[in-house]
Structure formats: structure tokens, C-alpha cells
């Protein structure tokens, strides 16, 4: 106990975090709560994680036609994901090259130009400077070709998911995704045509807590979501129950936590849900186009993979560090605003090659649990806020994340695996967090 008090006083009032001090906040099975509460550490995260790592920007289907754009915030930077008149999807910094005003204040839409209202500079959808008011006042020393909207240095696309990095050099997107790429496939391949559309609208939520609190946690559902578990018993086909047959959160279930490295982790329901394949197919068949969907999946993917993909129902339950999660029917974007303020957008996806009724059903299941009035998300954010308030007490500042440390193991693909309630994802995230925060 004395030890804890001493360590607290070491960190109190700290404004300069050297690497040794940062590293000392993360131990094998416990984490100092300052990683969630300290505003200076938050600023360092924006510098060292959000300015370096690959970040999810959006899905290419959000900008299907030339001139379509979508603004997002990456760390401190507002960006415009825009499909140019040349069809190329770019990620441009939303800041006029003249005096810095944002050139796009609309979240989404279609345009021919981005016009800065301050002095009337105009950029085309490729980001090039198209017009400078009173340009006779500038001599030839200004290279107008170099005065376009600043592109984020690197942009890559994995199966329609657009990622960007502010680091001009570094690991490729393929290296970054590693084993998590095959998990993204679980969502995309839920479409028999391999077409995913992020055009189902979204829930936009906000909580007064740290951005790292929202993640993969297979320990909490039976406890925090006890009200949902009780509700599922009323009708297993209603709402979220339709994708959670039986009890997947019992440690004797064939469900696992899996850490792919890079802070990417998943709640792996594959083995469990495939046991309920027949049951799930019966459920799908109740919907118009259901039998055709099952048939098409078998034709595209073959028997074995189709069974798995249908069982998992396009729900990878993947957390891709730092800012994307694929849960149930949604692409989730986590945007940190302050050490104790976070926005989460949950974008509903639509599967190509399936009936409208199946997609509509997926929306209904999403709504039942997620969003500001869902049965699940508000209880999650409620507890994140309670954690954030609780962590202000620093007499004993350590958070325990040791659950299942003794029983986790390394799988053949190199991922670390634990039982569903084990804190494998938390340990994986903070291993990677420490690496990013302390590297030169």
C-alpha cells in the first residue's frame, strides 16, 4: 500500500513525461490510471500515436462518385476524404493554404470545389488550387501547383477501408494490419459479392471518458449488460440475441480473446457460433431472400467458409488500434477529443448482393443494442464515465488487467489467445501503447 502512495506522489503535478516515466505506467498485469486521466499524456498520444500510426479514415463507399466527400477528424487534424474528378480517393487536410481556415464545414456531400470564404481561394476536388482571388498581386515566385490542399502523406486502402498516416515513411498498411486483415474479411465476405457499403447512416455518441476505454472486453457482458441478457431470454430471435446464440460469454464456451499485436484484438466467436449454424440459418430463412443469401454464400465461398461466414453474420468483433472497430453490423470510429472526452461514430453497413429485407433486419438488430438509446451502448458509456470519475482517486492508482495471464497461449498464427473473459486485449493494447509512446 505504501508503495502505491509513493508512486502516486511521483506522478502528481507531472508536466514532463520522459520515456522511463511513461514506461513505468504499464506493467505486465496492471496499468496506472494516469494513462487515462493525464492531459499531458493525452497530448503525447496525439503526437506519438495519432501522428504516426495508420488511422482509419472512412470506407470508399462513402464517396462513390467524383466530388463526393466526407470530413473526419484524425487526432488534431480535420481531413476531407474526397473522390477527385480523376476518381482517386484522397485524404486532404481541411485547411486553406493561405491563412488556415477550414475549407469544408459540411460533414458529407458532393461538390466541384472547396472554397475558402475568408479570401476566396478555391481548390478543386483533386485538392489543386484552382483559383486565387487577385492573383496578379503574387509574382511568379509562388508555385501555385504546390499550393493545393495538403494531402495526408500516405493513404492506402484495404478492401475498401481507407487508411491514412501522417508519417511520410514507415510500415506499410499490410504490415500494420497483420493478422487483423483476415478479420476485416469476415465483414466484407458476409456479402456474397464481396461488396460492403458504409451507407446505412450512423449513430454518433459521446462520453466523458478516455478514448482507450472503448474496446474489446469479453468479461463485462454478463455483468454490465445483465439487463440485455434478461431481455434476450424473452425472445432469442429478437435484437442482439439473434447473433448471440446460447451464452458466448461463459468461460467454458468456445469463445476467445485474441491479440494480433499492434494493439489489434478481437473477441473471437467463430468456433462458438458455427455450432449454432443450423439455428442461425433457420433464422435467416425467415427473412425474404434468406434462402437465396445462404445459397449465394455457398456458391461464392464454398461449403466450409460459407458456414463460418454465415455463422459469424458479418460481425468480426475486431478492435483495430487506435481508432477503428468492426462490431456487429457497424464500422466504429473512435475520436479522442480530450483525456476525458471521446466521440464514437457507429456507421451501419449494408451488404451487397443480399435482399433489402436482410439489410433492414441488420439495421434493426444494430439499433436494439447500439447508439444513444440502445440497450447496450448507453450502459457501456455509463460505466466508462464512472471509471473516469473513479480514476480521479489516486490513493491506489493501479488498474488490474491480469485476468487470464496464466492461461493465455500463443496460437499457430502468432496471435495471443485467452478465454473470452480474459484481459488479453487490454494487455495487447498497452504493450503496443508503450511501444509507440516510448519509441524514438
Amino acid at each position: 500500500m505504501n508503495q502505491h502512495i509513493i508512486q502516486t506522489s511521483n506522478f502528481s503535478g507531472k508536466t514532463h513525461w520522459d520515456k522511463a516515466a511513461l514506461a513505468s505506467l504499464v506493467e505486465a498485469g496492471r496499468i496506472h490510471s494516469r494513462v487515462y486521466t493525464d492531459p499531458d499524456i493525452f497530448e503525447l498520444e496525439l503526437d506519438r500515436i495519432f501522428s504516426n500510426s495508420w488511422l482509419f479514415v472512412g470506407h470508399q463507399s462513402e464517396v462513390p462518385s467524383p466530388g463526393d466527400f466526407q470530413t473526419r477528424v484524425l487526432g488534431r487534424t480535420s481531413v476531407i476524404m474526397v473522390r477527385g474528378k480523376d476518381e482517386i480517393v484522397r485524404v486532404l487536410v481541411n485547411r486553406c493554404r493561405h491563412r488556415g481556415a477550414q475549407v469544408c464545414e459540411t460533414e458529407t456531400g458532393n461538390t466541384k470545389f472547396f472554397r475558402c470564404w475568408y479570401h476566396g481561394w478555391v481548390y478543386d476536388t483533386n485538392g489543386d488550387l484552382a483559383e486565387q482571388t487577385g492573383d496578379e498581386a503574387y509574382d511568379d515566385s509562388m508555385d501555385r501547383k504546390a499550393m493545393g490542399l495538403t494531402p495526408v502523406p500516405r493513404v492506402e486502402n484495404y478492401r475498401g477501408f481507407v487508411f491514412a498516416s501522417f508519417a511520410p515513411e514507415g510500415e506499410t498498411l499490410t504490415e500494420f494490419l497483420g493478422g487483423a486483415a483476415a478479420i476485416i474479411d469476415l465483414m466484407v465476405d458476409a456479402s456474397p459479392t464481396g461488396e460492403l457499403y458504409a451507407d446505412g447512416g450512423s449513430h454518433k455518441t459521446e462520453y466523458r471518458g478516455n478514448w482507450k476505454l472503448v474496446g474489446m472486453d469479453g468479461y463485462h457482458p454478463l455483468h454490465l449488460h445483465a439487463s440485455v441478457m434478461e431481455t434476450i431470454h424473452r425472445d432469442p430471435d429478437s435484437g442482439i440475441g439473434s447473433t448471440h446464440r446460447s451464452n458466448p460469454f461463459d468461460d467454458t464456451a468456445a469463445t476467445y480473446t485474441r491479440d494480433f499485436g499492434h494493439g489489434h484484438s478481437m473477441l473471437d466467436f467463430r468456433e462458438h457460433r458455427i455450432k449454432h449454424y443450423e439455428e442461425h440459418c433457420e433464422f435467416i430463412k425467415k427473412t425474404s431472400g434468406g434462402a437465396e443469401y445462404i445459397d449465394a454464400m455457398h456458391k461464392t465461398h464454398g461449403e466450409e467458409r460459407a458456414r463460418m461466414l454465415l455463422s459469424i453474420s458479418g460481425d468480426p468483433h475486431l478492435g483495430l488500434f487506435p481508432n477503428m472497430q468492426l462490431i456487429h453490423n457497424q464500422i466504429r470510429i473512435v475520436t479522442p477529443l480530450a483525456a476525458d472526452l471521446t466521440q464514437v461514430e457507429m456507421i451501419a453497413v449494408r451488404l451487397g448482393g443480399v435482399s433489402d429485407e436482410i439489410n433492414a433486419n441488420r439495421l434493426r438488430h444494430h439499433e436494439s443494442f447500439y447508439g444513444p438509446a440502445g440497450a447496450g451502448s448507453p450502459d457501456d458509456t455509463e460505466i466508462f464515465e464512472r471509471v473516469q470519475r473513479g480514476m480521479q482517486a489516486e490513493l491506489n492508482p493501479w488498474l488490474d488487467v491480469s485476468r487470464g495471464m496464466a492461461r493465455e497461449f500463443t496460437d499457430v498464427d502468432g496471435s495471443t489467445v485467452g478465454r473470452i473473459s480474459d484481459e488479453v486485449p487490454q494487455r495487447g493494447i498497452f504493450r503496443h501503447w508503450t511501444k509507440l509512446m516510448t519509441q524514438s
Binding site: E107, D199, G200, G201, S202, H203, K204, T205, E206, Y207, R208, L224, H225, A226, S227, V228, E230, T231, R234, D235, S238, G239, Q343, V344, E345, M346, A348, R350, D356, N359, A360, L363, R364, H366, E367, S368, G371, P372, A373, A375, P378, D379, T381, E382, I383, E385
Partner: protein, 169 residues
């Protein structure tokens, strides 16, 4: 609103008053978190709809904040009545005003559509939150009494990030 002004002549004041009192009663039950009594106001078939991001969306193509038919609304109320709906522990303290009530397309005998505006002040965990917007109720008369068949709530801020909205809106 011209069409509704034409329809709601001065002689309709009695039914307008009946509708007002009904909506005020609904507001009282919602403010009091009297979930089961509030559910009693509804017809057997129902739609309780709160669109997300846009007032004019096709709920079969776009996600809503709430899109409840009878089964989902019963689930919602059942869950809120369990001991474990933590986002309502403590419950929201609410006070709402319902105003600008207009009978849009309303028959005294059978019912119809009613438009209104609302402001809800919510206090929870020492934080006061303002919610507001527009509502449309489809009221039907069953055995002489008005009941809610559909309720559409168009939040003023349905396109901005919001926190916990698990109370009855």
C-alpha cells in the same frame, strides 16, 4: 401549416383540447419514468421512431436511434424495469414542455396526425442536458379513448454526437 389551419376551425377547439391533455398526460408519464403506464398509452400495433442524422430518411435503408415495433418497445420497457439498466441508475430527472400542438389531419371520431414541439430538460449525475425537437403523433380512438399508434421524434440535434438517451423521449 396553412392546410392544418384550414382544417382546424374554431369549432374544433374541444378535440384540440382533448389532444393537448392527452399529450400532456403522456409527457407526465415520460417525465416520471413511469414506463409501464406509458406503454399502456399505445395501441397493439405501433411504431416509435427516432431517426438518426436526418428527419427524412428511409428507415429500411438507414439506421435510426429508435425504430420500435410492439416487440421492441416491450423489450425496451422490460429492460428498463430490470434492476440492471445502469444508464438509468440513477434515473434521469426530467421536465418537458410540449407545445405548438397542431391537428394536421385529424378526425374527431377516429383520430389522426398531430404535430407538436417539445423541450426536455434532463438532470442526471449533476449534469443538465437540453433535448428538443419536433414530434408527430398518430393518435387513434379506441373505445372512446385516444391511444398512440405512431410517434415520430425529430431531435433538433439528431446529427450531432449525443450521450445517454435511455429515458423516454
Amino acid at each position: 401549416m396553412n392546410s392544418s389551419m384550414n382544417k382546424a376551425s374554431l369549432s374544433d377547439w374541444q378535440v384540440l383540447r382533448e389532444v393537448e391533455l392527452f399529450l400532456f398526460h403522456e409527457a407526465e408519464l415520460a417525465d416520471g419514468n413511469q414506463y409501464e403506464d406509458w406503454l399502456e398509452l399505445w395501441t397493439a400495433d405501433l411504431l416509435y421512431w427516432v431517426p438518426s442524422n436526418d428527419d427524412n430518411l428511409d428507415p429500411q435503408k438507414k439506421i435510426s436511434i429508435i425504430y420500435d415495433r410492439r416487440a421492441q418497445l416491450e423489450d425496451r420497457i422490460f429492460r428498463l424495469c430490470t434492476k440492471h439498466a445502469y444508464a438509468q441508475r440513477p434515473q434521469s430527472r426530467l421536465t418537458r414542455l410540449v407545445s405548438n400542438i397542431v391537428l394536421d389531419d385529424f378526425d374527431t371520431e377516429s383520430g389522426g396526425w398531430v404535430s407538436s414541439r417539445f423541450v426536455v430538460v434532463e438532470l442526471r449525475n449533476h449534469v443538465q442536458t437540453l433535448w428538443s425537437g419536433r414530434m408527430r403523433h398518430k393518435l387513434v380512438r379506441e373505445d372512446g379513448k385516444l391511444r398512440i399508434n405512431e410517434k415520430h421524434v425529430f431531435l433538433l440535434n439528431n446529427d450531432t454526437p449525443v450521450g445517454n438517451m435511455t429515458f423516454i423521449i
